[in-house]
């Protein structure tokens, strides 16, 4: 082996490390910038103000409700997609993935349009109001969270070999018992990951939330909306404080997912 080869090998490794280093620097830069500009003290102090606290509280409630609804629907449909063959499965699969790649703004806008159609306005007037209401935000966020959750869950259920359910059935389980006693516990890390990632997607959403909920201070003002409003009124310290909360939530999501053993 000659020197030229040694040099080439060194260059390849240097390239790999350099690219990764640049990416890490950018990501770390994003985190540091949040503190660098306004420091920590003022932003954190601003979190104690009642209207900020309300935004935090609202975000938590709405995202949690959205995640619960999303999971309740995603678990059965992911299981169906993972286990049963039926005509049109690929079509259903594609349709359910749509909100992952569709712009959240478009999701929110579509919902808005739906509530202006005949069936939509019937629901609005006779059943429940969604447009510019917290309920609408929950609906929009649930759609986004559902798409994330169904993907994670489908993989998790697929990773549980059908053999385990078959063995359980031969020991006397009905299909539902086999699911509840074997597949669901075995896929638990995936279920936790789906819940956490779905919640993260819901809590951080701006596009769909602002479309359906508008930006009604104190009523549909989630944390991302609040950041946008504070920035518009040049209250940077409060915006940074809220962003720190969002970032902390994102880091918590990553940490939780990794602790349950499933990289997002």
């Amino acid at each position: 082996m000659d020197g030229g080869q040694t040099l080439k090998r060194g260059l390849f490794r240097a390239l790999l490390v350099a690219a990764t280093g640049l990416a890490v620097t950018v990501m770390a830069g994003l985190l540091l910038s949040q503190v660098a500009y306004a420091g920590l003290e003022k932003p954190l102090a601003s979190l104690l103000r009642p209207e900020v606290f309300h935004a935090l509280f609202l975000s938590c409630i709405l995202a949690t409700a959205a995640a619960v609804i999303a999971l309740a629907l995603a678990i059965p449909s992911a299981y169906l997609l993972a286990r049963r063959a039926f005509p049109g499965r690929i079509l259903v699969d594609t349709l359910l993935d749509l909100p992952v790649v569709l712009s959240p703004l478009a999701v929110g806008f579509s919902l808005l349009l739906f509530f202006r159609t005949a069936p939509g306005s019937f629901i609005e007037t006779h059943l429940m109001r969604f447009v510019f209401e917290p309920a609408g935000i929950v609906l929009a966020q649930a759609i986004l969270a559902y798409a994330v959750a169904v993907r994670v869950l489908k993989t998790a259920f697929e990773e549980v070999e059908p053999r385990y359910e078959q063995v359980a059935r031969l020991m006397g389980c009905t299909p539902f018992m086999a699911f509840r006693k074997v597949t669901l516990p075995m896929a638990r890390p995936g279920v936790v990951a789906a819940a956490v990632l779905g919640w993260g997607r819901a809590v951080g959403d701006f596009g769909a939330t602002v479309m359906v909920g508008g930006a009604v201070a104190g009523k549909t003002e989630t944390v991302p909306v609040a950041i946008y409003l504070r920035l518009a009124s040049v209250d940077i310290a409060q915006a940074v404080g809220l962003m720190l909360v969002l970032t902390a939530a994102a880091l918590a999501v990553l940490l939780l997912v990794r602790l349950t053993g499933r990289a997002p």
Binding site: E161, Q166, R169, L170, M171, T174, M186, R188
Partner: protein, 370 residues
């Protein structure tokens, strides 16, 4: 106990059956076949995991063709064992009783008996079944299957992940257990030796069809078709020409060598046939001893090409016929090799009994070289 009538199924372009067989209660039945023959699909039909497209399955007198798996009261030991990783060893074994809400007095007896019989006591407290060794996992899976006191146990290549030596001892001890408990075994395997060890009766499945069914000895004595013969034996199978018949023996010529064979009843000679001789059926004659009285034909002069030592047994490859046109594999013992100081190049004489020579027609269908 198990009766299968004209069962057929399909997956994609693969067609299974129609296949029929019956297994008496308390016996050990082996379904032998190469990978891709449809053995596992057949098993899945019996277990209710795959819906057959036709035929009937009767277990213990009850038609279960359309019953779901949980309605069949059979036990199943799959190849990968499928121990539940989220349950402890004890909870794995007691999964069946807990699902069925059996009271303790119903499972305690069989549980204790199995724990003792399979030496599971030191393992019961283990939390994670993934830390068990291969043999330990086998024993836990077996206890889990048997604690429900099934009448039939279906086994799908359950020993294939063990190494050769551990496999043998587990095979024998499971067989003891089967006989003690009067269980019916239905075992699926691609391993010839395993089939012969485990079977009271066996069937060979090739390309989705059961080609032969019977006691193991019938397969070594007399494969039902050239296809089965090719599956059981790659060496020592030759195309041959029918020469003449006399005194109930057929004389066939392969590569210049004339071999006498005792054909199966009902087979009529054709000009072009195949003969097969198992390496175990060939004897090397010792020049220091007189010929046995029955050795009146099939004395084949040959030359040792190579002696293969497999550690636990030996084979000699011997060329016979015009210019060594045919190469025979012969099972030899260490003693024979030592006593005759057998070496490559030596001239020797082989003998095979006419009733040990397989004779087959070339099958009608287009067979590959197996």
């Amino acid at each position: 106990m198990i009766r299968v009538e004209a069962l057929s199924a399909r997956v994609g372009t693969f067609r299974l059956g129609p296949a029929s067989l019956s297994v008496p209660a308390g016996s050990s039945f082996v379904l032998l076949g190469p990978t891709g023959a449809g053995k596992t699909l057949f098993l899945e039909c019996l277990l209710g995991l795959h819906r057959p497209s036709g035929g009937r399955i009767v277990l213990d007198g009850v038609d279960v063709t359309d019953a779901p798996p949980e309605g069949r009261s059979v036990a199943y030991l799959p190849q990968d064992l499928a121990l539940f990783p989220h349950l402890s060893v004890r909870d794995n074994i007691l999964f069946g009783p807990s699902i069925r809400r059996w009271p303790r007095e119903r499972w305690q007896g069989p549980f204790d008996a199995l724990v003792e019989r399979l030496q599971l006591a030191p393992l019961l407290a283990r939390r994670d079944v993934r830390t068990l060794s291969g043999g330990e996992r086998q024993r836990v899976a077996l206890a889990r299957a048997l604690v429900l006191r099934p009448k039939v146990l279906f086994l799908d290549e359950p020993f294939s992940s063990l190494d050769a030596l551990a496999r043998r001892s587990l095979q024998l001890s499971i067989l003891d257990l089967q006989r003690e408990a009067g269980l019916t075994f239905f075992l699926v395997t691609h391993d010839h030796e395993e089939a012969f060890i485990m079977a009271d009766a066996m069937a060979v499945m090739l390309r989705g069809r059961i080609e032969q069914e019977g006691p193991p000895e019938a397969f070594t004595a007399n494969p039902a078709s050239l296809m089965v013969a090719r599956f059981l034996l790659v060496q020592n199978l030759f195309p041959a020409f029918f020469v003449r018949e006399s005194e109930g023996l057929w004389f066939l010529e392969a590569g210049g060598v004339v071999v006498a064979a005792k054909p199966k009843p009902g087979l009529s000679p054709r000009p072009s046939m195949h003969i097969g001789i198992r390496p175990e059926a060939l004897v090397v004659l010792r020049r220091d001893r007189p010929l046995a009285p029955w050795m009146t034909c099939n004395l084949l002069e040959g030359r040792v090409e190579r002696i293969l030592n497999l550690g636990n047994r030996r084979y000699a490859r011997v060329s016979v016929g015009d210019r060594g046109s045919i190469s025979l594999e012969v099972a030899v013992t260490q003693h024979l090799v030592q006593d005759l100081s057998l070496r490559e190049g030596d001239a020797i004489t082989l003998h095979v009994r006419p009733e040990s020579v397989w004779v087959h027609w070339e099958n009608g269908d287009s067979e590959g070289a197996s």
